[in-house]
Amino acid sequence: MQHQKVIPIVPVPAAPEETVSLYEAHKKVYPRSVTGLFARWRWAFVWLTQIVFYGLPWLSWGTENGSRQAVLFDLAARRFYLFGEVLYPQDFIYLTGLLVASALLLFLFTAVAGRLWCGFACPQTVYTEIFLWIERHVEGDRPQRLKLDGSSFSTEKLVKKSFKHLAWMSVAMWTGVTFVGYFTPVRELGMEFLQTRMDSWEVFWVFFYAAATYGNAGFLREQVCKYMCPYARFQSAMFDKDTLIVSYDAARGDPRGTRGRRDDFQARGLGSCIDCGLCVQVCPTGIDIRNGLQYECISCAACVDVCDTVMDKMEYPRGLIRFSTQQALDKGWTGRDIVRRVLRPRILVYATVLAALCMGLAISLALRTPLRVDVVRDRASLARIVAGGKLENVYRLQVMNATEETQRYRIGAEGLPGLAIASDDEVSVGPAESRWVAVRLQLPYGAAPAGSHAIHFTIEGQGGAHVREKSVFIVPR
């Protein structure tokens, strides 16, 4: 049975109309600082993500040829070093897999718990949080900031503002250098940066990324989420009525009204909401959660924390604003009911596909042969007859060594009786190097009828690396 919620009909005066522009002037949001369970979680994620981001490029990885940066995407040499793995551009499928897995993870996550990513781990949120922390320590909390921005020019204002922007720029520059450090060895980059002798592209990307951090976290903030982020736009496709959302319990809270701490608010016909407006003041996107689910809400739960504090002060039970679901609110469900609704078909499908994909990726990466070969038939000659009346076909083999030691590979060919290699059948390839080798295959005249015949190249390394590549041998008419 669906509950039909009866809304009391109260005569409302005709809504005043106003004339507005199609373009809105920016209203600056001054989020008030907040403490509580979710604030602690958010800071835990800030630390976690930033330790990984700033720390990873400095990590070294030991190999037989000395040590190198553990994670380095060397775009110029087209080699991607990921701890023990050396990836070639041909291994792009792993990146595709990783991106698909990330997307699925986001789908799964969103279907279960809404925009937790946005509120806790998204770089936009994390850097805004760091920048807000700086701002708060320099200029003070919301009331002081409002006062400072409203005040006329003074030395104090100049000092505070310059110090804040200097601190912001320092963090932004550090972020820029770190980002570029994923693509060019960070230790050298750090030295180059300090000695101001980076090359022009490094300068461009360091400053580009720094400017992006400074602009996004310092100024654009919630506007990135509201106007630019595509995720906010398609999240509704992943939400359903059992998705956890930050929600205001209107049945309990309304009608709102101010009251003293000891007042019998029920006698006055009021709900639990004391209409203090703190949930609006702490909101980083500047919305009023009491208006229901809005696309601007990034699920950061700052309003939950602050409302719980207020409820504690009023000695009311917590949870007027809380993580709940649409269904639970409508039907008055408890936490147990919500948990029971988690395993619904959509979640199971996402989880199954995600698990299968991750397993496939892991197995494929573990079983990867650290050798890759591309066979290209020579483009100049189809076939030729050489001394001794033999038919010859020419191939170019690109032998890619995905280990960090010099390797010797033995080349073989099979598929036709009498097929033999006329050129060197051994090739030595340096660490993480790829080499083109011209290979001549000969067949005694008349050993195969005219036409194209499927053959295979076999390439064996010392460490048991073994690759079999298909090609064709052409016998002319």
Binding site: S21, Y23, A380, R384, V394, R440
Partner: protein, 305 residues
Amino acid sequence: MSDFTANFWSVYVAGITLAGIVACLLLLWITARKKIVSAADNTTGHVWDEDLTEMNNPMPRWWMWLFVITAVFSLLYLAFYPGLGTYQGSLGWSSRGAYDAEVEEANRQLAPLYAQFTARKVEEVAGDAAAMAIGERLFMNNCAQCHGSDARGSKGFPNLADADWLHGGTPDKIVETINAGRQGAMPPMAAAVGSADDVKNVANYVLSLSGAPHDSLRAQLGKSKFTACAACHGMDGKGNPAMGAPNLTDDVWLHGYGEQAIIAMVNNGKTNVMPAQHGKLTDAQIHVLASYVWGLSNKPVVVKP
């Protein structure tokens, strides 16, 4: 610019481009001035399908300024760079010019690298592993299309890895060949040789020169007719590198082996062209390339530093 033989299309394209930008700016200007009525609940009053109402979610104003900046940028861009029909832009930029500048810059940067090779003789450069790695890449990009990636050629394209040279295989000759190209011409000789039977006899004589299977009676009859061929190939058939006439006494057959192939050659002749590479490659590149080619069939002189 054969597309723009008449001025009309240039003006047409430029007109559409400019009109598009002006229309964008006009649209921005109109929307920026337009005011709409919004109810207190932030809806616009538009309702569809009974209860679907349109919220008033205005664009941020700074976004509008981004559009303006974009439009201004496009106008400046079109003033500096080609984009309006046949107008070349005030900076005189062209993709061809940019390419030439990049090649020139690359050559300038590589000059010191090549200088160490050009200072040495071809025989020595061929023994330098670094030079040969460069030579191989030059060969792959410029020569492998005809001579094959292993330089062993195929029918009609000479093998560069054997000891047989049409025009001579000394370093100087190789440089000369790469620079200026070669034109190999064998005129149709059927009329000079005689009847079809005579041609067949000459073909058998030619086969006999290299010890290939042949009809010895016909070869003897063809020997006297070979005088027509001797002008180029010499009386003994050993060819003449000065004019690119191939040696007929070895087992290298550039244009096909056997009686039929030789008869066709005598009857029809052949013109074979190797294009000149001068201008496409720098002198230094040709020096390294010649060293690479020379090294394919010769033992390089390794100089101990």
